[in-house]
């Protein structure tokens, strides 16, 4: 600044500044276009290879099968790995994937899987039964390389029915004693207790095979897993935290090869931003914010699970339930009449229509439709019937004026849109003379209260790991699950017995009949109050000719077709 010349010609400098500004903005405009040839062709995002799908996901927890749990990480992992079996929701049957077939012993304690021959991992290694043993062992053992590097898996419970689970999970041994491979293409699984639905567990994405490099180089495998699925990580790329994950078609895939060249998963924090990207044509598949649902339904054309020309908005029911968890050991709520009265008083239809624009459906039980054994209207007390509610509540405390003098506390977390739902519930309860007060600490504190049993009632969601009745009834209502997912503390010896029996029944129909029996008893006790079943709301761009997204929100990207 000291060298500033006072007598510098003024105009010259102005002209210079003005000129460079103009030149600069011109250059800016010119350069701001797209990369390469700069030909921004409107709705087709410029990515290498014309047939790359741009798919929205939220930040995944994990894409390595050893800890894959929520739907975002599963979406990616599911494309990279094939498990033994897969449930075909369209035909309602369990089909072989990496396994051709399986046999189960009559007492449902031993399962033998026969693997497809000639399958390869993305790095060229053959897929053998040993690779499943490796994958399942590193899921459970706290001493595996991956667990040492990133901490023990949080989902080892998937394999808790397999023999030797406890010893392995507690770190007493390195071997999974329940698993054995008589030859490269045969996997034998011994269970510690009967579990006829084990093949469904074996279809969970976490139970994928992993090649030897998964343990030799756990640190890198975690961010760029090598699987046996129809897609592989784009060479020399990894999961870019908070940004994107690129996968490409795997040419040596043993099954039907993918019809598109690859998928560019764009990781977005905020759904509103993601939806703007979709509107700008930079995303092919995106979730829809609630405020945009009605417009999207009109513009994009509705379908349930398959996107096609003219039908690019999916509204598929999911096998998951949103319910009020009730503390059955609470002084007031241990009275079943109060639980039943409360359940009958809630207008579920109104919540689904006004708050979710019909994209969630009122629950008529804890088992959602789409699960084998779902019965319409299974839970009598999940209907909306104010008169009947009053009948039951009169047994608890008679109405005097417009109140029964029943005061209860509803504990929940306000974020995630729960506040509006709970306020609607509180409003419904006020109409039958119950004063419900909200207590809304943070989620962490809420969970602590639910676990410690120091609450009256609250809210939870249950997303099934496997699409079977067992995955609802056992974790939520079996007395073995108290201290775990059975947060209502419900315990009924008869229900326990029926579930245990069902687990030992290999015949599908007989097993489901037993489960239904158990469900009926639970329904009559009304230990929790089911509110809604979830529906996913996905939109697709016009480029998509065909895309199937199953009820668990796993997209079958290998069969996806692009224009």
């Amino acid at each position: 600044m000291a060298e500033f010349k006072v007598n510098e010609p003024v105009m010259g400098r102005r002209a210079f500044v003005g000129g460079s500004l103009a030149a600069g903005s011109l250059a800016f405009l010119a350069a701001c276009g797209q990369k390469g040839d700069g030909a921004g062709s409107g709705d087709a995002p410029a990515t290498d290879g014309g047939k790359t799908l741009n798919y929205y996901i939220n930040n995944p927890v994990c894409i390595d099968p050893y800890n894959v749990q929520e739907d975002q990480g599963t979406q990616v992992e599911f494309q990279l790995f094939d498990t033994l079996m897969q449930f075909d929701f369209e035909n309602n049957e369990l089909k072989g994937l990496a396994a051709e077939s399986f046999d189960a012993t009559e007492d449902a304690t031993e399962f033998t899987f026969h693997l497809v021959e000639g399958a390869k991992f993305h790095n060229g290694d053959p897929v053998t039964a040993q690779d499943f043993v490796r994958g399942w062992t590193r899921l459970v053992s706290p001493k595996s390389a991956i667990a040492t590097e990133y901490g023990p898996s949080e989902i080892s419970y998937h394999l808790s029915v397999v023999e030797g689970y406890d010893a392995l999970a507690n770190g007493e041994t390195d071997e999974f004693s329940g698993l054995s491979c008589p030859d490269d293409n045969t996997l034998v699984v011994k269970l510690s207790s009967a579990y006829a639905d084990f093949a469904y567990i074996a279809s969970h994405p976490a139970l994928s095979p992993v090649p030897a490099c998964a343990e030799e180089d756990a640190k890198n495998f975690y961010l760029a897993p090598v699987g046996n699925g129809p897609f592989m990580m784009k060479p020399d790329t990894k999961w870019e935290d908070g940004q994107y994950i690129d996968i490409v078609k795997f040419d040596d895939y043993y099954g039907e090869p993918a019809k598109i060249d690859g998928v560019h998963f764009i990781i977005q924090k905020d759904i509103e931003t993601a939806y703007k990207e979709f509107q700008a044509g930079n995303l092919d598949v995106c979730d829809v914010p609630v405020a945009q649902i009605e417009a999207a339904r009109k513009e994009r054309g509705e379908a349930e699970y398959t996107m096609e020309d003219g039908k690019h908005m999916l509204l598929g029911a999911e096998p998951s339930a949103y319910y009020l968890v009730v503390n059955n050991n609470d002084e007031q709520f241990k009275n079943p009449d109060l639980r039943k009265g409360v359940s009958l008083a809630i207008n579920r239809e109104a919540i689904c229509e006004t708050l979710f624009k019909g994209t969630r459906t009122p629950a008529d039980g804890i088992i959602p439709p789409g699960i084998d054994g779902y019965t319409e209207g299974a839970w009598e007390f999940s209907a909306y019937d104010v008169d009947k509610a009053n009948e039951y509540l009169d047994k608890v405390a008679p109405m005097s004026g417009d109140s029964r003098g029943i005061n209860v506390v509803l504990t929940y977390n306000q974020d995630g849109g729960h506040k509006e739902i709970m306020e609607s519930v509180i409003g419904d309860l006020a109409k039958v003379g119950i004063t419900a007060e909200s207590e809304t600490p943070e989620w962490s504190a809420v969970l602590e209260q639910y676990t410690a049993g120091t609450f009256q009632f609250g809210r939870l969601g249950w997303i099934a790991d496997y699409p079977i009745m067992d995955n609802f009834l056992y974790p939520l209502f079996h007395s073995d699950s108290i201290g775990g997912d059975n947060k209502s503390g419900y315990s009924n010896a008869e229900v326990d017995k029926l579930i245990d029996e069902a687990r030992a029944t290999t015949d599908d129909d007989a097993r489901i009949a037993k489960m239904k029996e158990a469900d009926a008893i639970i329904a009559s006790d009304c230990p929790v109050i089911p509110l809604m079943f979830y529906t996913h709301t996905l939109v697709g761009s016009d480029r998509i000719k065909n895309l199937y997204v199953d009820p668990q929100k796993k997209a079958d990207l290998a069969t996806c077709e692009l224009a």
Binding site: G40, Y150, E154, S160, Q243, D270, N282, A445, G484, K487
Partner: protein, 345 residues
């Protein structure tokens, strides 16, 4: 000067120890069990839960590394002091621990994300300095002119508009509408920080977030600059300079500006420190992979190692920036003698 800097750097140590200790104490006061939160709606198997607690030094362990159990068979929580010692020992070895939720080492997370925060903050601060100081000078020099009124009005609006809303407007205009109008020939990226699959050059991704992040502070900087410069222009020495027959230009650039800049530099410096601590709203709206939203999420999920790591990083950065700002005073105003006798008095 050298002595002053050393003294200031040494002052970092007690400040740093104080801040981290307070945070550690907070961990014990704030409700919510971080390990239970990992499971969320689904409960963790008890064995896994215990293994995680042992891994993260949350419970006491015996010599063989097994958790110490009390008479009820429950694990005994580790004392706050011991955990603090673990943390500091790790820190001295360059290890900030592992994120409870993300599983990744905290240092890896910050090494990957912090450059994005720094680059965005740098762009925003350059924008803020040029636009803020420039607009402030123009409106002070041409007081009550059209330009002055324009600057005053624009800054009033910018101060009142929430940054995230401005960001969303910019996204809609430059990302969606302009793209439609020009048939795709011109548009700016809506979100993200670029990368090989982006259709834009990486630097283009900085434009909208930087404008959004800088908007409010630019307005403040312009207003501070304007009032300071007007203040200085009324000083006696400026009248003297005028009396000497110096041109307006020389008076402003040589005499007035330097003196008027000090509060603006302070403001911009503090603001830069704040930007380097991450920008939660801007990062969320533009899906920017910076540390602000990462730390915000870590707080709500009680992911203490990530929170501690973030705070450690921010404390150091803010202290360094403050030091740089203080040192810059000496250059702007020779009367300010850092660490001189007048300071000690």
């Amino acid at each position: 000067m050298g002595k002053y800097i050393i003294k200031r750097v040494l002052q970092f140590i007690p400040v740093f120890l104080g801040v981290t200790l307070i945070l550690f104490a907070l961990q014990n006061i704030v409700p919510g069990d971080p390990i239970k939160l990992i499971g969320g709606d689904k409960a963790l198997p008890p064995a896994t839960e215990l293994q995680l607690r042992v891994r993260y030094h949350l419970v006491q362990v015996d010599e063989s590394g097994n958790a110490v159990l009390d008479e009820n068979g429950d694990p005994v929580p580790e004392t706050m002091w011991n955990r603090y010692v673990y943390y500091m020992t790790g820190l001295l070895h360059g290890d900030l621990g592992q994120s409870y939720q993300r599983k990744l080492p905290v240092t890896d997370i910050f090494l990957q994300k912090y450059p994005y925060t720094v680059k965005l903050a740098a762009c925003a601060i350059v924008l803020e300095a040029i636009m803020g100081i420039g607009a402030g000078i123009i409106s002070a020099v041409k007081r009550y002119s059209f330009w002055d009124i324009l600057v005053t009005l624009t800054t009033s609006v910018l101060v009142a508009v929430p940054a995230f809303w401005l960001g969303m407007l910019l996204q809609l205009f430059f990302g969606v509408l302009i793209k439609d109008w020009t048939g795709g020939a011109f548009s700016l990226p809506i979100s993200g920080a670029g990368g090989p699959s982006s259709q834009y050059q990486d630097w283009v991704h900085y434009i909208l977030p930087a404008i959004t992040l800088a908007s409010v502070s630019t307005a403040y900087a312009a207003r501070i600059m304007r009032s300071q410069l007007l203040d200085v222009m009324n000083q006696d020495y400026i009248r003297t300079a005028k009396a000497k027959g110096l041109s307006n230009r020389a008076i402003i650039w040589k005499h007035a500006l330097k003196n008027a800049l000090i509060p603006v530099v302070t403001y911009i410096g503090v603001d830069f420190g704040a930007m380097l601590s991450g920008a939660i709203l801007t990062e969320t709206v533009f899906n920017w992979p910076g540390i602000g939203s990462e730390i915000y999420r870590a707080i709500s999920m009680r992911d203490w190692p990530l929170v501690m790591g973030g705070v450690t990083l921010i404390v150091v950065v803010v202290m360094v920036i403050n030091l740089l700002v203080d040192v810059s005073y000496a250059f702007l105003d020779p009367r300010i003698r850092l660490g001189g006798p007048s300071d000690k008095a």
